[in-house]
């Protein structure tokens, strides 16, 4: 029964016993994505055009950025429900910064004189707000020992309130062209800038999780926090840090969203948390923590984008789309629970 291999010494990674279920669990999102795309391609010829595919990627890129951050959180068996609200708040702050204050919020020309630095100050502001917000929530979770669900549910309400307060009822719109280019521009006239930002940060996150010591610690803390602590890991710091990272991506997402809409408003990002959590879970990251990859999250994000895009092309109403997303979340978690019980037996 025991197969002792010596390959391990040469650096090759022999897989353990072939296991159909394990294989399916690993590649299920990718297989599902391919099947789905094939299906839509048959029923709707417009689906498989490069223009439409880039459109899908552009549409999911902000969800994708948030989902990358959410992967860190869910890997530690946490959750962040506040991101939609945080995106709105960070987006408004960034917009105000780029316009040089709230007084000229509708002034389309305003900020032109500050064009040379407006957009990156805006980026810094958005990310600053996101990181600070994430840190506050992480602090409440690790120091006050309030469960992540509760802290971020509170955050969901509090950041939305802050956004409404800050916006004082109206949107802020009309940014300088460099800022808008980040949301609406295309590199080589082909690839939308948000897509490039999304994929670049996905790669960075993948490298962090897969190759760094810090990445290892995240999996360890998520898989067994007590064992992680007894192995000398600073569980509190790691746990806090994932909410900071989530905040960073919320800020970045807010910045790109501002640029894409050329506007910021207090109701932006409503319901994002659901789509983002769905993307991560569909991508195979376990809500129980300690299991999941950025690759899976990227696939999960695209999968949701393809699904929504395909449904739109097939004239399915947005209400029905919400129903479908809801069902998919439940099924993905059911699959995860089932996979977990299988792992225990093995």
């Amino acid at each position: 029964m025991e197969t002792l291999t010596e390959h391990s010494h040469s650096g090759a990674q022999p897989r353990t016993r072939p296991d159909l279920f394990g294989f399916l669990a690993r590649f299920a999102p990718l297989i599902f994505l391919i099947v789905l795309m094939g299906g839509f391609a048959i029923f709707e010829p417009r689906f498989l055009t490069p223009l439409n595919l880039f459109n899908i990627l552009r549409q999911v890129s902000i969800y994708g950025l948030l989902a990358v951050g959410m992967t860190f959180v869910i890997l530690t068996a946490g959750i962040d429900l506040s991101i939609g609200s945080l995106v709105a708040f960070a987006g408004l702050v960034a917009a105000a910064v780029s316009k040089g204050g709230l007084s000229n919020r509708f002034n389309v020309g305003a900020g032109e004189e500050a064009a040379s630095y407006g957009w990156y100050l805006a980026a810094l502001a958005a990310i600053g707000v996101g990181v600070a917000g994430g840190f506050l929530q992480g602090f409440a979770i690790t120091r006050l020992k309030v469960p992540p669900f509760v802290v971020t549910l509170g955050g969901m309400s509090a950041w939305r309130g802050a956004a409404l307060l800050f916006a004082a009822g109206g949107p802020i719109s009309g940014f300088e062209p460099n800022f808008v280019w980040i949301g609406q521009g295309r590199i080589f006239d082909q690839v939308p800038v948000p897509v490039v930002i999304f994929l670049a940060f996905a790669v960075l996150a993948h490298v962090i999780l897969r190759y760094t010591r810090y990445g290892r610690q995240i999996y360890a803390v998520g898989g067994n926090p007590e064992a992680a602590r007894l192995s000398g890991l600073n569980v509190r710091a790691v746990t806090t840090s994932v909410y900071v990272i989530m905040g960073f991506f919320a800020g970045l997402g807010a910045f790109v969203l501002d640029a894409r809409l050329n506007s910021a408003e207090a109701v932006a990002g409503t319901g994002y948390e659901l789509t983002v959590i769905a993307s991560v879970v569909i991508g195979g990251t376990s809500l129980f923590g300690g299991l999941g990859t950025i690759f899976g999250t990227v696939i999960g994000t695209i999968l949701i984008g393809v699904l929504l895009n395909g449904l739109v092309l097939m004239n399915v109403s947005s209400y029905v789309q919400q129903i479908i997303i809801g069902i998919i979340i439940v099924l993905a978690v059911a699959f995860d629970t089932f996979a977990k019980s299988r792992r225990r037996l093995g």
Binding site: R213, G223, R343, R344, G346
Partner: protein
């Protein structure tokens, strides 16, 4: 006599593992039956099939002479089979009576008839000779008492067969005696009991017949009266085990590596005023193995966790190489060269969803860092391979999930995790709990080698033969206090036992007090 239960030709395959292959089990009415085997022999799987929690791929189960198929745990319970797992299934915030009658509350439909439930529970606990208040909440009960509640639940279900998985592993010896008394009582009332255990002495003491599994197969069964412990071990491992738990005499230098002075801690999660540690002092030398003996609840694990920084303590000093340490977390302890192999492998040491490689290197990332940030996987693989060879860890590859290793190999990986850190002091808490006999001997030899290389080892064990085998010196604890210390050459199981129970027997104050 017609057997109550006959399982035969049971086969069960999991992905990649053949857990049972032609396994069988026959239990007579009114007997206590031992189900034995090394870890991975298939005992747990066989029990789960019997409990209806898993379905066999093939094979037959006869209960009272008729063929049965148990489709669910509920179905098995309905047929009179109750299973008490190591991890209890009680609802901690509910009363004893509610737990006993959970899902079958008396009272005809909507409302629960509390009076009847309490009376019934009282009748059952009385039948067991227990003093338990039916209306007290389970959370406050000791492990032994919770086990009794499980047994009471089994009786209330009119069970014919009670399966107990490692029932004595968390009990003190007085509690074990009590459990055995109850087991004999149930036997006299005509019930059958299956004991799954690693403790062969207890098997000889309480069981009537035995069944031994090895590699998922039935390899022997018969009457306990016709076999010796050695005979059972031979069946279990399929070879002669000679010099089991042999001791190796060593020379130990006189330099004290770690000195613990006056450790105190008041209050635990359950009771704010409980004395957890009271003035605990001891020292351990370079290359020495200090055994720590005591009954369950004596404060041994609490002492280890306090020294390691895993739990806080109120006062006391930890001094290494003459310098007082300020340890506030395991991270601090590790930095000073102290390691801890915790008592509960699965809960406290292993990352079950991760590969062997990642589990092994978890505490020693410093050794394999590149640019202070990245894990150098090539160096990591080389390090893991080094310890695989050194500790003879049997695994399919470094990428295998640790969950799929046997208990013994999991424990070796845990030991390797600390060895990779090159510690000065290593505390091992129940180093061989739940691992099979062959692996136990290997772990003991590893402890000897580690001591030989200069590591000071503190070995906590509930098994006195193990304490006697591995230690150079032994301290005993009772109710949070150190009650004595003794050189191994002067110690016997009887002397240790009396030292461990010293404060309980105040009348024998002059007995066994060595310091």
């Amino acid at each position: 006599m017609e057997p109550l239960l006959r399982m035969s030709m049971i086969r069960k395959k999991f992905p990649g593992v053949l857990a049972l292959d032609d396994a069988g089990l026959e239990v007579l009415p009114g007997e206590i039956h031992a189900l034995l085997g090394e870890n991975g022999a298939g005992k747990s799987t066989l029990i789960k099939i019997l409990a209806g929690a898993q379905q066999p791929d093939s094979g037959t189960i006869e209960l009272g002479g008729e063929n049965v198929v148990m489709v669910s745990p509920h179905d098995a319970q309905r047929r009179g089979i109750a299973t008490i797992y190591q991890e209890f299934t009680l609802a901690p915030n509910m009363t004893i009576a509610e737990n006993v009658f959970i899902g079958r509350e008396p009272g005809g439909g909507v409302f629960v008839d509390w009076r009847e439930m309490a009376a019934e529970t009282h009748a059952i606990t009385k039948r067991l000779g227990l003093e338990l208040q039916p209306m007290s909440v389970v959370r406050g009960l000791s492990v032994a008492e919770q086990q009794m509640v499980e047994i009471a639940r089994a009786l209330s279900m009119k069970s014919r067969l009670i399966v107990m998985d490692e029932p004595t592993s968390a009990l003190s010896s007085a509690e074990v005696d009590k459990l055995f008394r109850i087991a004999r009582e149930l036997k006299a009332q005509g019930l059958s009991i299956i004991f799954v255990t690693h403790r062969l002495e207890e098997v000889m003491q309480i069981c009537d017949r035995y069944t031994v599994l090895r590699d998922g197969r039935l390899v022997g069964s018969g009457s306990i009266a016709d076999i010796t412990i050695d005979g059972i071990i031979r069946l279990m491992v399929g070879r002669e085990v000679k010099a089991l738990f042999a001791h190796h005499q060593r020379e130990i230098a006189n330099d004290v590596v770690l000195r613990v002075e006056g450790l105190n801690r008041q209050g635990n999660a359950r009771d704010q005023s409980a004395t957890v540690l009271a003035d605990v002092s001891f020292e351990v030398r370079r290359g020495e193995i200090l055994g720590v003996a005591g009954l369950v609840g004596a404060g041994r694990t609490e002492m280890a966790r306090a020294v390691f920084g895993a739990d806080e303590f109120d006062s006391g000093r930890v001094i290494m190489d003459g310098r007082q340490l300020h340890i506030r977390s395991p991270k601090d302890a590790i930095r000073h060269g102290i390691g801890l192999v915790p008592e509960d492998r699965k809960q406290q040491a292993l990352f079950l969803a991760l590969a062997v490689r990642i589990n092994l290197s978890m505490a020693s990332h410093r050794r394999i860092l590149r640019w202070g940030l990245f894990i150098d996987e090539k160096a990591e693989r080389a390090m893991v391979e080094e310890y695989r060879q050194k500790l003879n860890i049997r695994m399919a590859s470094q990428e295998q999930l640790i969950a799929n290793l046997s208990g013994g190999n999991q424990q070796k990986v845990t030991l390797a995790r600390w060895l990779a850190l090159r510690p000065k002091v290593l505390i091992v808490d129940e180093p061989t709990r739940g691992i099979d006999i062959g692996a136990k001997v290997e772990v003991h030899n590893l402890l000897f080698e580690m001591a030989q290389s200069g590591i000071a080892i503190i070995a906590i064990s509930s098994e006195l033969p193990e304490v006697l085998a591995v230690s150079d010196r032994i301290v005993t604890m009772r109710e949070g206090r150190v009650t004595g210390q003794i050189k191994r050459e002067e110690a016997t199981e009887e002397i240790l036992m009396s030292m461990m129970t010293l404060t309980a027997r105040k009348t024998e104050r002059n007995h066994g007090n060595i310091d």
